[in-house]
Symmetry: C2
């Protein structure tokens, strides 16, 4: 039994507590995927026998209280395990964050001169009854009527539906609704339903994120978004980032299957939630349009991922044809289709391609930049004439992972903070206004910028050992750390700290993103100043304090008017694809047009990265507003 929820689950002896929790649907924080190295999956054994475990992450007091790493403890009897607050993953927000309405509104279709032409359409047909003068076969009769009613030319139909057709047509008095699925130059008549069901045609647009899975329910008759649902990617307990999940998946076939089942299960849960809420039947959702990074798309489809991780970073397939959703295990209409948007490279996925489309970058006259910040930071520069893209491994620091007090942007996470001086916090806010449990990505951006301002961190990212505050101390491992919130004020009875290692992580993350953007600009002989606009995407983007992001050198020091937060552009693109065959085809053209720029082989990238691993940058003249704030003259 897991407390405080009271959830119970039966597992064989020897199962790890983490595996049991995953099976029970109890979220347990985990970064390393069960390797016992991140120390995040702290749980308390209240009753029963658990074998194994490591003590290195716990104080003597904690060990006495039954603390153990869930991934290291093997169940040996009936046990009662408490998931302490810091280990719990909070429920995702009710409303989907990071959504920029303008991008996902169907009106965008109109603005781009596009029609509402969903990938799956339902057409009500009143067929002429056969006679001696009109004696074509049932299937050809249906095709002829559908050809007349739509713009579709060439059809195909599966054998099972063809077998049912003669009886169905006669039982329905020749009045049927045909379900037509777009398959490029062919139209598949997916199914034929009795009578007029054409008003019940819905799609799921999915953004399959490494951390969060988001689904939107869309009415294909009018383009309206009816609802959103989100949840954590259950794969998280098997590895916090794509590299760890690839390693996990490559170890043995069962692991790959487990990862696939986890994400398929998540999507089905969200589909269930949305369809139940909107009273939809089993055949009402006729398509899923899915975007995600290359690894997520591979894991969803059950494609091998191991080569993505190894130079030269090759995926199994970057573009797959429409598939029967049921073949992948997705529970929409049994005949419904899964449309996977295309990827560009091992680390430039369908989420970015969808984003390029949704932001209109690929149709723009002026050259613009899109920065999508996640575990990898992807940068695209381009317009209607060219598109170039790079991906930099930023690490999960901006997602709150791999930092001592880092956490995801969920309830209890410090998302904004102001320091009065080195010793005093002026104010901070947490998500859900709950007692602070840790720091999420935007919190770190704020915190670091403040720590620089009050002199706690120098431009090289070193915690000032000379600062006159007791908040700076040595941790048990001998590392310098700064206590942001004392445990008395924290929600989990632990000091909330930022360590020298955390600062280094964030420095490297922002350095990688900034360097990637700089190298890409240089490759096309342009500068940040030449860009008409910089769009920042990712769930991260919506909470971000621009001024602080510029201050630490994550974003360039340009006119804030030219900076735009565009939210979750991945789901926006997936939705546009579902609503318009033109958009879907255009997204594939974008993937074709996008040049992948491999940073790891560019001799300039390491220089740029090293230069960018300063606050804000080695070349501070690139950040005039920061110079002004710090009172630095050019001459200095």
């Amino acid at each position: 039994m897991f407390t405080p929820d009271g959830t119970t689950v039966e597992v064989p002896p020897g199962t790890t507590l983490l595996a049991a929790a995953t099976k029970a649907g109890v979220f347990v924080n985990s970064v390393c995927g069960g390797d016992g190295v991140c120390g995040r999956c702290r749980v308390i054994v209240r009753d029963g026998k658990v074998c194994g475990g490591s003590t290195e992450f716990f104080t003597r007091d904690e060990i006495r209280h039954g603390y153990i790493l869930a991934c290291q403890g093997h169940i040996a009897s009936d046990v009662e395990v408490e998931i302490p607050p810091e280990t719990r993953l909070a429920k995702p927000p009710e409303r989907v964050e990071g959504e920029v309405p303008s991008l996902t509104d169907v009106s965008l279709l109109g603005r781009a001169g596009m029609q509402l032409t969903p990938l799956v359409t339902k057409t009500y047909l009143q067929l002429p009854k056969p006679s001696l003068d009109n004696n074509i076969a049932d299937l050809q009769r249906l095709e002829q009527a559908l050809r007349t009613a739509t713009s579709f030319e060439k059809f195909q139909m599966g054998l099972k539906v063809t077998r049912r057709l003669p009886t169905l047509l006669r039982e329905s008095q020749w009045q049927v609704t045909a379900l037509s699925g777009h398959r490029g130059c062919l139209t598949e008549i997916l199914d034929v339903e009795e009578g007029d069901t054409s008003r019940r045609n819905f799609a799921i647009a999915a953004d399959v994120g490494t951390t969060t899975v988001v689904c939107h329910l869309v009415n294909l008759r009018n383009g309206q978004t009816l609802g959103c649902a989100a949840k954590y990617n259950s794969q998280a307990s098997l590895g916090s980032d794509v590299i760890r999940r690839i390693i996990h998946a490559s170890a043995k076939p069962e692991n790959e299957a487990a990862l696939r089942e986890a994400i398929v299960g998540d999507l089905n849960e969200l589909i269930d939630e949305l369809t139940a809420k909107h009273h939809l039947g089993g055949t009402d959702v006729t398509l899923i349009s899915a975007a995600g990074n290359t690894t997520m798309m591979h894991l969803l489809l059950g494609l091998p991922v191991e080569n993505i991780r190894k130079e030269p970073y090759i995926g199994g397939a970057y573009r797959v044809p429409p598939l029967r959703a049921a073949e992948v295990g997705l529970k929409i209409s049994p005949r419904g289709l899964l449309y996977c948007l295309p990827c560009v490279a091992g680390f430039v996925g369908a989420d970015i391609v969808a984003g390029i489309h949704a932001t209109g970058l690929s149709r723009s006259e002026k050259v613009r930049m899109l920065i999508d910040i996640g575990t990898n930071g992807e940068i695209v520069i381009g317009n209607k004439d060219f598109l170039i893209c790079a991906s930099a491994s930023a690490g999960p620091a901006f997602e709150g992972a791999e930092c001592r007090s880092g956490m995801r942007a969920t309830r209890g996470a410090i998302d904004h903070i102001r320091l009065l001086d080195a010793d005093r916090v002026l104010q901070y806010s947490t998500i859900g206004s709950e007692p602070p449990l840790g720091i999420c990505g935007t919190g770190y951006v704020d915190l670091l910028s403040e720590m620089i301002r009050v002199g706690l961190v120098d431009k090289t990212g070193r915690l000032s050992v000379n600062a006159t505050t007791e908040r700076i101390r040595k941790s048990r491992s001998g590392e310098s750390e700064y206590v942001v919130i004392h445990k008395q004020s924290a929600g989990n009875d632990s000091d909330i700290v930022i360590t020298q290692g955390d600062v280094n992580n964030i420095l490297r993350a922002k350095g990688a993103i900034f360097a990637a953007a700089s190298v890409l600009l240089k490759a096309i002989d342009t500068t940040f100043d030449d860009l008409a606009e910089i769009m920042v995407a990712g769930a991260f983007g919506n909470f971000l304090n621009v001024e602080d992001a510029v201050f630490i050198g994550l974003l360039p020091d340009i006119d804030p008017k030219r900076m735009k937060f565009v939210g979750n552009t991945s789901i926006a693109g997936a939705k546009l694809a579902a609503l318009s065959r033109e958009c879907y085809e255009e997204i594939f053209q974008i993937a074709d047009r996008t040049t992948y720029f491999e940073l790891s082989t560019d001799p300039g990238f390491m220089d740029q990265f090293v230069s960018a691993c300063f606050f804000p940058h080695t070349n501070i003249e690139m950040f005039p507003s920061v110079m002004a704030e710090l009172g630095i003259n050019k001459e200095q």
Copy 2:
């Protein structure tokens, strides 16, 4: 146990002897499909208990000897059943009869200016290894190489193959053979094999006949036919013609399944035979190209057939896309495709469309006619500008069915006969030179023509009651019959006779075919004399004595040089389709172009039919050579 073969089979009590024989693979003659009305499935119960049965078809002596109808006798214990010779279906001929080499030779492709472009191709590819500079995904790498090596543009691949691809490419050192299946505007990469297997690519061309199933094994690398195999359609025991099989199939779903399994089983048997003989492996046969009449194609695919029989005679589908052969149960490569050629109407099937293509009728400058004689007689008239087709129900008389001593053209069948006078047979021949068991179609054509010559049958088809021969007598039912071979000379101790009813059947059959041809000609305002050529197709055609066929008025009285026997044009067309995507597409265009002429609604058909129900015809002036032979002047 069935004797004389000694075959045994276990069945539940109550099973009919006919069903048990079908299950045991023992061929039992049956015309009515188990209704107990044709009296053909005569068997002798030697031991054990069998319940039920009717006595109307047997003499008292036969009943005493254990004769029973296999379809009426229900097994009540272990039984030993003898299948007497007249009930046995002989093995089909070793060599496939009715094959005209010129039509199925690949050289025809060359003559028609066509390339060898099989529907499924194998392409050996040496892929460039991935590198940082060439980092497209595995699937896209394969597609790119295939696009370069072939003329294919757009690809799709199933999920299972895509999942296997990354491992396969690496294990095979990037040297693989891609299997590409034609799907109209798309090319499906059906499978990818390690190394170079491109030399092992074979097709089965199948003619799914109501009575006989014929398969040819074709090497897709060079177009050569490697072998032929044929067998009786096992569905025969469930109904001798398509109408009976439709009635049987429509009675209950199990019947439809049984018919489907029967034909699928037959095809698999022939495939096994051919692949074993030519030492082919499980993945070497990559496609089946199938032609057959509309009902056979429906039964093979498991499509409902009942509406084909009912006015306005509508099939479920006349054109279906390429299907996975395994989905239908056909045992070629698990990824191989079944290409069904298109039908035109309920009684104008893919066999005719294939024949139009194979004979070049659709490309001809001059107007020609194709007559395909089977249970239905199909007539096509046309050239490159038009194609018109009609189907007349001839009945199975020319296949030896539904005539008292009729039998299929197998061993022991009288296929040619000459009478010296009304009392004496001059000579006859039987298939396989065995003692005569009955009369097949070509035998009836000869026999009737001879009986007319010696005055045994008048021009209205009446057996001459005044003939001075004891060979004419009344049967038990009071019907006039002519004893062709006395039982002393017969192989089955029965008189071989032709009854008044038999003559009427044949008269109607030839009348229907001739009338159909005449009505079609009239519909396009032309005559037999205007036709550049008349081609006679069907297995029937090869044995036919033209002079006799003209004499009885089955074929028109034109210059024999303009008459050509073209054999099995159905399998010829199926083979051309397998070898050439152009041919396959052209066959679909032919189906589109062919106008179906419904005889049953044509007011002239009945007149023509009545006129043609004379030997040779009411209007004997249409048959000048017959007039000359009979010494009739025009004035008479």
